[in-house]
Amino acid sequence: MESNLITEDKQKNKLEKAFEILKTMASKPSGLIGLTIVLFHVILALISPYIAPYDYKAISPNTMLLAPSAEHWFGTDSLGRDVFTRTILGGRTALTVTFFGSLIALLWGGLLGIFCGLVGGKIDDVVMRVVDAFLSIPWILAMLLIVSLLGTSTEVLIPALGFFYGKGIVRVARAATHDVIAKDFIVSARARGHSNMSIIWNEIIPNVRDAILVEGAMRWSWMLLGFSSLSFLGFGVSPPTPDWGLMISNARGLMSFAYWSVIAPIVGLSSLIIGINLTADAFAKALGIDRSTKAPV
């Protein structure tokens, strides 16, 4: 009974802490704007299949390239599909792919980084060399190669994005582990006879978690940029999936007289990327992590 109370108490503390962080983030205008935009997009992504007025893949020759009107709020595209429907569903695609991609990146990048920071020595040197080598291949070339050989489905895109955006997290996690590992409480945990696993789980992860999470939040926005660039180039999700990058690339050729079909996805994608960036910045500041001088690698 008593132990239950303690865990409940801990749970409550965690929630309170998360709430505190959110409050600090929202206390500045840039953080508040960022949080609002991200929240708006997440809610829209969750409810969009239920509120979409038209079928996103319904092609109709009668409604080609109509200007915005009461029936078609954002107009229609060159195949007669409703741009409003495709824009609100596009956020769903982008958020799903990049959310799971970031999760994979955080997991493997974080764990490998902590491992390297812990063992050090030869293994660490070799792994970091390989990570550096991967970093020096431009992301776009590597992604394009994988996608063109394995196909453009979300089952390929999510792990590929997760893998490629995780290598930067390895560095951050490793550096953070290096900082923690020499501290007194690790030494005393060792002296108390705790196992390696218990030290990793109870001492190291809680102390490097903040740095890794902040890095992950930043990666999320870069991954969204990378994913939409791939779609734009025709190597992301395949049509007729509603996706902003794909919509922009399709509508680009006709934008001299049908600019609405390119403006709507541009506004959607830009606002989400800016929102995530502002949120990540506010998150970093709320946790007291300075990453303003870091290069985006």
Binding site: I137, L149, L225, I248, M255, I266, I274, T293, K294
Partner: protein, 318 residues
């Protein structure tokens, strides 16, 4: 000092060696070899045999790697399947075009970034900073293909000032290029300047808070003399490395920008070779782009070493 430089160069070479291994193994491990990938449904009979012979795919993988690597070291990248000519001939004009685009962007971007970074740092949280910082956040977060598309829509279509798409042969002369590259240069340098200006800003702010600047203020050194003598040299030095990393990271953005403007450079070759499934060219491009990345970082490291008096006397530094 010399030892340090040699060590950096050595590390760079090791990185390139690993990159070559990764691209080679990657192409080996992924399904299909260069010939079946390129020929697709026609991959049978004499066409396949001829292709295999041409690329020498009938020998074991490690032998092929050694031969390929030794050729690359000598500057021979092999044979392009889709162009049916040596890759070096394909690359030549593309490299030149991309170099023009990149160097014009960098020549405009770096000075502009330094000026903007200093202004925003010195007037921190005042009106100039808020205005410039808002613009930089916008231009660094919005993907290149969006800013490029918007540039075409506004400048080329709505205003009709400049051509929206580059229509020049890949071996165009320098002057033909210049008139066509204004919009691509704006698109690339916009995002590059924004990234670098932010780094310069935070670097200057850090130095402004340091003890020696406080000391200079207390000593009564005039404000602008203090800025130029004490702040800038110390603030710009650490920025060099970060700027180098940023330029290298933006290589991916250059690819997208070249596609949007139909610019015949290395970036569009990346897309073309992958669409044509021309794996020998993809391998060559991976090595070249990785060398650019490693090279830029090496130059930045060396510049930091040269410019930092504290490191000159240092023999060994980890």
């Amino acid at each position: 000092m010399l030892l340090l430089i040699l060590k950096r160069i050595g590390l760079g070479l090791i990185t390139l060696f690993i990159v070559s291994l990764i691209t080679f193994v990657g192409v080996e491990v992924l399904p299909g070899d260069a010939c079946t990938t390129y020929l697709e449904r026609e991959a049978y009979g004499s066409a396949l045999d001829a292709c295999i012979k041409r690329l020498g795919l009938d020998v074991p993988a490690y032998e092929r790697y050694l031969e390929w690597a030794s050729n690359v070291v000598r500057g021979d990248f092999g044979y392009s399947l889709s162009g049916e000519m040596p890759i070096n001939e394909v690359l030549g004009p593309r490299v030149k075009n991309s170099l023009v685009l990149a160097s014009v962007s960098i020549l405009i971007g770096i000075p502009l970034a330094i000026v903007l970074g200093i202004i925003t740092a010195l007037w921190r949280d005042k009106l100039p900073d808020i205005m410039i910082s808002t613009i930089t956040i916008f231009s660094m977060t919005i993907p290149e293909f969006i800013s490029a598309t918007l540039l075409i829509l506004i400048v080329a279509i709505w205003l009709g000032w400049l051509p929206g798409i580059v229509i020049i042969p890949s071996d165009a002369t320098f002057y033909e290029l210049l008139s066509n590259i204004i919009l691509p240069v704006v698109a690339i340098s916009m995002i590059m300047t924004a990234h670098m200006a932010r780094m310069v800003r935070s670097s200057v702010i850090q130095v402004m808070a340091s003890d020696y600047v406080q000391m200079a203020i207390l000593k009564g050194v005039p404000y602008w003399k203090m800025v130029f003598r004490h702040v800038l040299p110390n603030a710009l030095l650490p920025a060099i490395n970060v700027v180098a990393l940023t330029i290298a990271w933006l290589l991916g953005g250059v690819v997208v920008t070249e596609v949007v403007f139909n610019y015949p450079g290395l970036g569009r070759l990346v897309i073309e070779s992958i669409s044509n499934r021309d794996l020998p060219v993809v391998q060559a491009l991976a090595i070249i782009l990785a060398s650019i990345y490693v090279g830029i970082n090496l130059i930045a490291d060396l510049m930091t070493l040269m410019l930092n008096p504290r490191l000159k006397s240092l023999q060994i530094r980890k």
